[in-house]
């Protein structure tokens, strides 16, 4: 019997993994060889997907990208011996998966199991350190769990980088019969997919993290608010939740501990602003996703008016390892006040895109060139947007900035959810600035004027600038408008749209038809 792995992650599927998997089974049957096919998650090396792995005595051997037409040849090479010279001579042979430089140099804590296990096998999860964090948490008081999270230095990975422990502590100390844990799985930022990968490729980790959160603060009900664009994640999560319930990891009296935690997935409906936490809560209550005024904080008055933890998928998925290996273990990674690791997502015009988890402190240049391999087009990388559609555009002169929340603040940029989108020198930055306003106009919840009206006016001003109409005045108008949105918006959608706009203008004035001097004026 030979064990073979073909990923079931959506990105692998988007490149034909399903057909490759089918062909593998047909070929096995035709040849009468005994093959066990395991559908794992993705290792995150997207340029090699569909990445097929074969188990050997020395570890898993990788081949990729494997299209259906390659399957017959692959069988010739690996059966009977994936370690043979014939196998090594195969054009798609990549060697031992664990020895691939891309993976070997990473520091995978949250993504330790992703791509390795069968996502919906609870046995597999348990065999790879799963539920060790929960087991430890069950022996602790709520306050001690919260203390461990605080000591780990974990800051919210959804964008705002707020210390997770402080948020939990507020909920812990808010007196209420009913509390909630809400997972923000709306992941609407361009260039981000790490939340999706966690949910599709290691869903029990998120379930475990949310269960620990519930036990810590005394919340008996959790919701995962999942974007409607992720149908595969929905299926995987629901199956994993079902299994966790059956095995007693969810429900009443978890593992005989007396703790109760129920979990349900709720589908979003394609509104970007519903990623904002208060808008998300409105949506979960069955309303329009209008942003709420703060205070009160959701930690005090959240879902249905009750104290609520709202955390990003990665924040919650990081909890199990903190409770398993200890706060200090996690805090030992990172730099400054940015502790632990960040799952970085490489996207856009890069040769090698995919998931890279590293301790804070790596530079953009390392990511773009060492991991990304430079642009896909072979042309120079001209601009990089970090942190989604509300993130600043960075020019080459800033590529040495280390990934660290404070270092990014210093250059008027944000890390956001760790998505990095690269553009080559064909990009028109004035067009990207216009798009930022357009996106804001499409997605604005409409509650406050600077965002609702400002975004539409912004599109108009950009159109005039592109046409060269009354240039100096319109650039001044663009700055004034951005200033109003920055300072007058109720939430970061309107409040941060000026980041992509002004960074494009300041770093790439020539695309706005300006000389550097005019732009600075």
């Amino acid at each position: 019997m030979v064990k073979v792995y073909v990923p079931i992650d959506s990105t692998a599927l988007s490149l034909g993994a399903e057909r490759t998997a089918k062909k593998m089974m047909q070929e096995a049957q035709a040849r009468g060889v005994d093959v066990t096919l395991i559908r794992n998650g993705s290792r995150g090396l997207f340029w090699l997907e569909p990445l097929v792995e074969v188990e050997t005595a020395q570890g898993r051997i990788a081949f990729g990208p494997v299209q259906p037409k390659d399957v017959a040849g692959l069988f010739d090479a690996i059966f009977t011996d994936a370690l043979s010279d014939t196998a090594k001579a195969h054009p798609l042979y990549l060697g031992l998966t664990d020895e691939l430089a891309w993976l070997k140099q990473q520091q995978r804590l949250t993504f330790a199991r992703v791509g390795i296990i069968d996502p919906i096998s609870l046995e597999d999860y348990l065999a790879h350190d799963g539920y060790k964090g929960l087991n430890n948490a069950l022996g602790l008081s709520g306050a001690d769990i919260v203390k461990a999270v605080t000591d780990s230095g974990l800051r919210g990975r959804g964008g705002a980088a707020f210390p997770t422990g402080i948020k939990w502590n507020t909920v812990l100390n808010a007196p209420s019969e009913q509390k909630y844990v809400v997972c923000n799985a709306d992941e609407g930022d361009s260039g981000t997919y790490s939340d999706r990968m966690v949910m599709e490729d290691d869903p029990f980790m998120l379930i475990e993290g949310m269960t620990i959160a519930g036990i810590a603060v005394g919340a008996s009900q959790g919701y995962i608010y999942l974007r409607s664009e992720y149908p595969h994640a929905l299926k995987t999560l629901n199956e994993a939740i079902r299994k966790a319930n059956v095995a007693g990891y969810l429900g009443d009296d978890i593992l005989g501990s007396g703790h109760t935690f129920h979990l349900e997935v709720r589908r979003a409906a394609g509104a970007y602003v519903c990623g904002e936490e208060t808008s998300l809560l409105e949506s979960l209550e069955g309303k329009r996703g209008l942003v709420r005024f703060k205070p009160p904080l959701p930690a005090i008055e959240g879902l249905f008016g009750k104290p609520t933890i709202v955390n990003n998928v990665i924040s919650l998925a990081t909890i199990p390892i903190i409770l398993d290996k200890g706060a200090q273990y996690y805090a030992d990674y990172g730099m400054g006040r940015s502790r632990g690791t960040l799952p970085i997502q490489l996207a856009g015009n890069l040769k090698q895109t995919g998931l890279v988890e590293l301790a804070f402190g790596a530079t953009l240049r390392e990511l773009l060139y060492d991991y990304g391999g430079g642009s896909a087009s072979g042309r120079p990388i001209r601009a990089v947007q970090v942190g989604g559609p509300l993130g600043a555009y960075l020019p080459e002169s800033q590529f040495d900035t280390p990934l660290d929340y404070e270092e990014f603040t210093k250059i008027w940029a944000v890390l956001g959810h760790g998505g990095i989108v690269a553009f080559d020198d064909n990009v028109d930055m004035a067009k990207m600035a216009r798009y930022a306003f357009e996106f804001c106009a499409v997605e604005s919840c409409g509650k406050c004027t600077p965002c609702r009206i400002g975004s539409t006016r912004g599109v108009e001003v950009m159109d005039k600038i592109v046409l060269g109409k009354n240039h100096p005045n319109n650039v001044q108008l663009l700055r004034d408008l951005s200033d109003t949105m920055l300072n007058g918006s109720l939430c970061a959608l309107g409040g941060m749209t000026p980041y992509p706009v002004l960074s494009a203008l300041n770093h790439f004035p020539e695309d706005f038809g300006l000389s550097n001097k005019e732009a600075a004026a």
Binding site: G191, R227, P231, A269, Q385
Partner: protein, 159 residues
């Protein structure tokens, strides 16, 4: 109720309303359930939804219209969503959009004359590692070109 709905559809909607009547925040899952079955949320059923969930018809209307995902009219047999967000732009999605509109002979939010495909814009499918990306019904496809999408439509819609 809307007489463009079949008996079976009426019954499906009724069942969903009953199932979600007492679910906290049940309106969103209810709308999803209806659209999953019928393909859209018929305006004719707003009054019944409103009554069952103790809302006003205006509130139901307000929620349906707020979210990009919900539709109030029937659509094509298949839905093609094209990603317009930054990563896909960096890999030429603008050209892809233009080519698809020309091939299908429709603009966004329109359905081809044979009723097969409705074209929709979308802002990120979480497949940015393989831009440009599209979604046809419930499946995502990466590294797309106009030819590849056209083949795909032929395969899924006719094959």
């Amino acid at each position: 109720m809307d007489n463009t709905l079949s008996h079976e559809q009426h019954a499906q909607i009724q069942a969903h309303i009953q199932a979600h009547q007492h679910v906290p925040g049940g309106l969103m899952p209810l709308l999803h359930a209806i659209q999953d079955d019928i393909g859209y949320v018929p305006e004719a059923v707003y009054p019944e939804i409103a009554k069952a969930l103790a809302l006003s018809v205006a509130e139901v209307h307000g929620v349906v219209s707020f979210y990009h995902h919900f539709r109030t009219h029937p659509i094509g047999k298949h839905v093609l969503q094209v990603c317009r967000a930054e990563s896909c732009q960096a890999m030429g999605s603008e050209k892809l959009e233009a080519a698809l509109k020309a091939t299908l002979g429709v603009d966004y939010h329109q359905t081809t004359t044979d009723g097969n495909v409705t074209l929709l814009p979308v802002y990120c499918l979480g497949n940015c590692g393989c831009s440009p990306a599209v979604m046809l019904d419930d499946e995502v496809y990466g590294r797309m070109s106009a030819e590849k999408v056209t083949d795909l439509i032929a395969e899924v819609c006719h094959g």
